[in-house]
Subunit: 144 residues, 3 copies
Amino acid sequence: MVHQEEIRLHTTRAGQMHDLTDQVAGIVARSGVQTGLVHIFNVGSTAAVGTIEFEPGLQADLPRELNRLLPPGRHYDHEQTWHDGNAHSHLQATLLGPALTVPVRNGRPLLGTWQQIFHLECDIKPRERRVVVTVMGEPGPAKP
Amino acid sequence: MVHQEEIRLHTTRAGQMHDLTDQVAGIVARSGVQTGLVHIFNVGSTAAVGTIEFEPGLQADLPRELNRLLPPGRHYDHEQTWHDGNAHSHLQATLLGPALTVPVRNGRPLLGTWQQIFHLECDIKPRERRVVVTVMGEPGPAKP
Amino acid sequence: MVHQEEIRLHTTRAGQMHDLTDQVAGIVARSGVQTGLVHIFNVGSTAAVGTIEFEPGLQADLPRELNRLLPPGRHYDHEQTWHDGNAHSHLQATLLGPALTVPVRNGRPLLGTWQQIFHLECDIKPRERRVVVTVMGEPGPAKP
C-alpha cells in the first residue's frame, strides 16, 4: 500500500518553524496503513524537515545556531553567480536535509512524547512550500 | 512485506555510542526480506542514529566535535523554559537526525566493510532508549 | 514492487561532487514504480549524499564550509589508531549522512526545479564508490 499527499505551507521569514506532526498523523490515518513508514520531504533546496521538541525555546535556538555555524553575510561562491543573498540558506538546508522517515505503528507515526516533526524555512524571503508525505506499509499489525 | 521490532538500550552518559549493526542484521534476517530497505529510528528528541566506522577513535571524536559545534553551557532559549541543561543535546540530535535507512540485499543490510550503524546518546543523564527497526521489501531477489 | 540497482562512481579528490539526479531518474523509470519512494545510499563511511542546487558556486561552498566546521589537520583520536589523515572525512560524512530518500510520483523522483541529488566525496584520495538505489512502490497512481 502506498498513499501520497501534499502539505502546503506559506512561510514568512528565515528561521520560521512549523509543527507538521498533526497533519502527518492525519495523512497516516487516511492512508489506512497500520504498520510501515511515513516519509516527509520538502520540495526545494532552501528548507528542511526533521524532529525536535517543538517549544518556543528550541524554535529560537535551532535557526540561531544554524546561523552561527553557517552565517549569512560571509563570502560564498554561490553569491558570485546569483547575488541573491541566500547561499547560507542552501547550506543550512543541505546540512539538516530535506527528508525524514518515521515508523508507523497502530496507524500512527511512532514518535516520543516530546518529539515533533518540524519544517524549517531557511530562505530569506517568504515562500510557498510543498511538503510531500508518502505512507507505505500494511493495513494490519506487523508480522509476527 | 513489513516487519517491525524494537531494540532497547540503556545509556549511561552523554556521548555514549552503541553499535547496532548486528542487532539490525538479526532483525532483517528474521523479517524474511531479501531485497528492500531497513529503517532505524530513535524514539525521542535527544539521541541520534547514523553510520560510522565504529572504532574507539571516532567514538571519542564524534561527540567531542559535536560538543565543539553545539556546546553545553552556552546561552540557549530552551534553558529559559526548562532549566534542564540539555538544550545542546536537543540541537545535536536534531542536526544528526533520529533516522537512518539502509538498503537490504540478499537478506542483509548492505553496508561497507568499515561502515557500522550507531546510536549516539546526546542527553546528559542515563536514558532507557527505544530504537524502532522497520524492514520493508520482498522475499526474493530484486527484479530484474 | 522493489527494484534495486547500483551506480558506480570514480572519485578523484576530497570535496568532489557528482550530480546523480539523471541516473536516479533512469533507475526509477526502469523500475516501473509510478508512486512510492526512491532511496539513495553511499556504501562506505567517508562519502555522503543529499540534495542541493547543483551549480558551481555551491559545489565549492559545501566542501569548503564542511572543512571549516570539521577541519583536516586538527587532533582527532581516529588518527592515533590509523594515521591515515581522514578523520575529518569520516566526521563530515557522518554529519551529512550516507542516505537520502525522495518521493516518486508519475514515475519520476519528485524534486524542486533547483534541487538535485548529489554525491560528495569526503575522503582524501581517489575512491571507487558504490551508490545503491532502491525503488519501492506501486505501478499506478497513489490511492485515492
